[in-house]
């Protein structure tokens, strides 16, 4: 891929970085990143990846825009309330950067459909909000050997880790399986600061860019945690778990399965 004059101008502030350069920009334009969940994490990630010139962005989300999303899901605007999230996400991505090809998947990911989606991409961003989806992405990326960025946010806390499947610590190395249903309290106790989602989603996008260009050191074998109240970042070093049920020495998980959905006890909850 050869950069046009317009592209050289558009991306000049990152092409000027010697670690990126014209060659790095060409890599970005030919890379494909999938964002699962156009929510708090996926929204900032999609906006920055679009602006950076990632050539193909896939967006998975089965939901519609709700007024309570707008406090943090900055890719959706007030006029989008009621629209499919993938539609408003596509519109905003294309408005930012017409270089980007957008693929949308207005579906709920399951063990049946996830593999055929993720295998078309170079890198996956997990921007989902529930444990079964997080385990499903981890497992599917392991079987398809697609690197991904996992993240979770709650209240004022966030955390993320990048996984190179089969090579570095995976989500199941840390968390064997989803928490028991009884351990999950009602959603009324939760909540999240919008800017926290912006910080963590932007860090996920940073990992996708670094991976695509091939620069720096990825956030592998370490969980980065951030607390917005104390402004403390901590990097907890992790080792691969030889007893991991997925990528350990004696794996018990040998095919993709859906984990049981932990149902919130609040009616009409948007968590």
């Amino acid at each position: 891929m050869k950069l046009t004059e317009q592209q050289i101008e558009r991306y000049s502030r990152q092409i000027i970085l010697k670690e990126v350069g014209g060659a790095g920009q060409e890599k970005l334009l030919s890379s494909k990143v999938l964002i699962v969940g156009a929510g708090g994490l996926g929204a900032p990630a999609a906006l920055y990846l679009a602006a950076a010139g990632v050539g193909t962005l896939g967006v998975v989300d089965y939901d519609r825009v709700d007024v309570t999303n707008l406090q943090r899901q900055v890719i959706h605007h007030t006029a989008d309330i009621g629209r499919a999230k993938v539609d408003s996400a596509r519109e905003r991505i294309q408005a930012i950067n017409p270089d980007v090809t957008v693929q949308t998947y207005p579906v709920r990911i399951t063990a049946e459909n996830i593999s055929q989606i993720i295998r078309q991409y170079d890198f996956v961003i997990d921007g989902t909000d529930n444990f079964p989806a997080k385990f499903l992405i981890n497992d599917a990326c392991y079987f398809e050997k697609v690197p991904f960025s996992h993240a979770g946010i709650l209240r004022f806390d966030g955390q993320l880790i990048t996984v190179l499947p089969g090579q570095t610590t995976c989500y199941r190395c840390i968390f064997h399986s989803p928490p028991p249903a009884g351990a999950v309290p009602s959603c009324s106790q939760a909540g999240v600061l919008g800017t926290l989602a912006g910080v963590i989603g932007s860090l996920q996008a940073t990992e996708a860019i670094k991976y695509s260009v091939g620069i720096g050191k990825l956030l592998t074998d370490a969980l980065l945690t951030y607390n917005a109240l104390t402004m403390e970042f901590r990097k907890v070093r992790l080792n691969r778990n030889l007893r991991c049920p997925l990528c350990g020495e004696n794996p018990q998980i040998t095919e993709l399965k859906d984990e049981e959905q932990i149902v919130c006890d609040l009616k009409d909850c948007k968590c």
């Binding site: 989902t128 529930n130 979770g152 946010i153 709650l154 309290p185 959603c187 901590r234």
Partner: protein, 71 residues
């Protein structure tokens, strides 16, 4: 004995188990926590038996997804 818990050095009584440490640290929902001891993730079944030793490095790793509160 002294333990390094989530990066902070704190004194505890000798022979404390991982389960007891979770209580001492006011972790309200231990089911939402994975424990790394000296670089290795422990099995949940080890929490009750595993006695901690002076100088041990412990990390609590929290489940973080959406719609719950661990601590």
């Amino acid at each position: 004995m002294k333990l390094l818990v989530n990066g902070k050095e704190t004194s505890f009584s000798d022979g404390l188990t991982v389960s007891e440490l979770l209580v001492e640290q006011n972790v309200k929902m231990p089911d939402m926590v994975s424990v790394e001891l000296n670089g290795q993730i422990l099995r949940r079944t080890e929490f009750d038996q595993r006695a901690l030793q002076d100088g041990d490095k412990v990390e609590f790793l929290y489940f973080m997804g959406g719609g719950y509160e661990a601590n």
